[in-house]
Symmetry: C2
Subunit: 212 residues, 2 copies
DNA sequence: TATAAAAGTTGACTGCAGTCGAGAATATAG
DNA sequence: CTATATTCTCGACTGCAGTCAACTTTTATA
């Protein structure tokens, strides 16, 4: 009877996640203890650790679920006819909004995502795969439409955009960029990355000095 | 007598730092307790907290000292006649090497530097100021030599390079890039950022398809 | 030099993340 | 249905980061 156990496990996992979302929102991540969370989920403290390796793993699992949803929604519903630049801004701004919605959530999530512990790498890889599966088609289309060089690996291209996204978020956390400025900042950075930072050779060099 | 106190404080601070470097190197950051560290420095546990706000602050202070030294050394001794691209690669690779020398040191340092807590922002700002003071002259020289567009704010330019640096480090932590590959990867990314990701308009568009 | 105020030090104490062995619940075998 | 193996659950326990009120040392004042 391949089921009673498996069903209970799913239930318990869900109970933990639900209690976590509620408590973390009510009192914040730091102010919620594992014992409290266990009580709220109707289980013992130790049990939590057979579902999640650490406290922040719980937060992390929640963020990842949300992000996967958002990504999927975006790329299936996104306007494929928009200029490539706009598409990329739309995608990363969605991610940005989710991350910055709750400062502490976002900070912990990013710290783990950008600079993960060796031990967390396996999960990380899955997420990266998803990420590439979603972005590559867009990049290929952009190449076909002549909006993107064909002599650069797609992996590099995603790197450039992801790097600038990390920069934006970092700038937000350090106060350089406010929530309101974020979108236009990101668009500017992305445009500059597409155009290049060095003056255009020959014919276009004059154009490069537009707004001094 | 404006001194006995101040002198002792400097001594104590140095003692803590020295003990920390030794213990963290011997047994690792996680495996060294504050109590141990206090004993090694010949002071009481509580005293440490009147010099450093948290345990990782100690690590952080050490990393920052090192980085400031490195930066200063680099920009004063750097070969000003090297192409701009090479200069930037040299600077960020030095930072990269320091960060990746000890995985755990680097991870904690970056997590705090890129995505700091609100409470740590003040110190952070100082470091950023230093960073800009060192980079801006190089960028201005590059602009004069025609290696860099003049219609982009220098702040944005540093952003682009810093973003790619963050990307490189992130890629190292996630295993995408090995220590050996780092330098050539960074150089490629920086070159692409300078050239731009989109095909060059008109005259240069054919050239853009060099290595498919 | 005596005394009060300020600054610095201390380790016992608190609270919490994460462990572990004992025991309950479920599955499997005879 | 009973016996045994396996998997899951639990909370008492451990170890450590960080606090705090009592205490010590330095400085300021007279």
């Amino acid at each position: 009877m391949a089921g009673i156990r498996e069903m209970k496990k799913q239930q318990t996992r869900k109970a933990i996640m639900q209690a976590a979302v509620r408590l973390f929102n009510d009192k914040g991540f730091e102010n919620t203890s594992i014992e409290e969370l266990a009580r709220a989920a109707g289980i013992g403290k130790g049990t939590i650790y057979s579902y999640f390796r650490t406290k922040s793993d719980i937060l992390h699992a929640f963020c990842e679920d949300e992000l996967v949803c958002l990504h999927q929604e975006l790329t299936t519903h996104a306007d494929q006819e928009l200029p490539f630049l706009k598409q990329m801004v739309a995608i990363y701004m969605t991610e940005f909004r989710m991350i910055t919605e709750n400062r502490e959530f976002g900070r912990l999530f990013l710290q783990q995502t950008a600079f993960p512990r060796t031990v967390d790498l396996k999960k990380h890889r899955e997420n990266e795969d998803n990420y590439f599966r979603l972005l590559f088609p867009l990049l290929e289309k952009a190449q076909e439409r002549g909006e993107l060089r064909k002599d650069i690996e797609l992996l590099s291209v995603t790197g450039h955009f992801y790097g600038l996204y990390l920069l934006l978020v970092s700038a937000w956390f350090t106060g350089w960029v406010t929530t309101d400025e974020a979108e236009s900042t990101l668009e500017t950075l992305f445009r500059q990355a597409l155009e290049g930072l060095q003056p255009h050779p020959a014919s276009t060099s004059a154009e490069g000095k537009r707004h001094a």
